[in-house]
Symmetry: C2
Amino acid sequence: MKSPSQPRDRGIPEATVARLPLYLRALHGMAERGIATVSSEDLAVAAGVNSAKLRKDLSHLGSYGTRGVGYDVEYLVYQISRELGLTQDWAVAIVGVGNLGRALANYGGFVSRGFRVAALVDADPEIVGDTIAGLNVEHIDELEAVIKRRGVSIVVLATPAAAAQEVCDRVVGVGVTSILNFAPVVLSVPETVDVRKVDLSIELQILAFHEQRKAGGPLMAVDGQ
Amino acid sequence: MKSPSQPRDRGIPEATVARLPLYLRALHGMAERGIATVSSEDLAVAAGVNSAKLRKDLSHLGSYGTRGVGYDVEYLVYQISRELGLTQDWAVAIVGVGNLGRALANYGGFVSRGFRVAALVDADPEIVGDTIAGLNVEHIDELEAVIKRRGVSIVVLATPAAAAQEVCDRVVGVGVTSILNFAPVVLSVPETVDVRKVDLSIELQILAFHEQRKAGGPLMAVDGQ
DNA sequence: ATGACTTTGTGCATCGGTTCACAAAAGGAT
DNA sequence: ATCCTTTTGTGAACCGATGCACAAAGTCAT
């Protein structure tokens, strides 16, 4: 089940994967400020995590640190980038060019390292043909063609909830296996497809729950966290 | 530390809290379609989770089901809403009215049950004074005054990364303890303050990681999920 | 009333993730 | 060369969350 002689294990825990982008961002900041070397302690503080956790996370990629010294910033940036697949260029399509889709298309950090908005698609004839963030908005009828033509491998769904599942089925139909869903619906997909969900209203509700607690909810209960 | 005689335990696991909004959404859909009663199995499917997990989650709020029958939809909606604190009205301020802030202000599902966008604040004199989603955009100098005047208890940060920490400090300074942060920075706050983070570029990077695996990354490795 | 059937609520085993704490490894000073 | 300091990498204990599997509790039909 495991290859003990392998330099690094190919099975990186999901929780670790979710933190790597955080480390990467902190490292980029440090690189810009000319920092050449960083200790797990300092990097952990910058990323807002505990240093033991950070070391264990990095150890899943390999032994890239030097005891007594720390990690070489540039080298670690490269290793994490490679592990996350950011050394290649990912073409992203945004489907649904309403307020949110527009914001995403213009969002700077979105297009950052490795990602490129390659297509905008919408159903509204008012919007189709417009140029947004330097891109022509194409008609939803062209969805499959656009995805193939532009080599899109990641689709961002910013459609109304009612349209999300249908669009999802269609992009999965032409081989897309990575979807970032902003529509407030549970998408049903084959298990080979990866869906990540961003849901603004869920985040707010979680905040409300804790806020209510702090304010002394139904029953007062003071409780660290 | 614990009250064993309490009808329901006040300590709801964080993982459960994060799923309650999901159940609530599914239940709302069912209520609209006139469904009066639902089994844990059906509700679990609608919410995209496993039915044992759903039952355990609900059991943390109390015994609201009827064996052999299921859960009363309306009653469960009420109980979950109350638990999440959605029976009261939360005033939300959005700071940073760029593309994203604008999208959030107009986002329908945002304003849904329990939440109300009560203020928009920005630093750009071009934008201040505009009316967006029926609200006047106010100047960042007024930040503290606006928050107090409108009774804002949840702040959404949609500012550029460079401004986020300063705005955060200021709102925390006037007593805000719940923040939803869209800026790609790690905010530093007192531990009494709850920060939730939504980071588009991190989500994309996680997708890229899995996509790379599926496509046969640096080293081919076929591996379920 | 009784029995067959359905579905909840939960004890228990398991799993993945976090944290502690320390041995191993590297560098620098003398 | 040896010792002292720093910091990594990881074994092991711990903690919370998941999922199985079943007894308890209810409904419905007869």
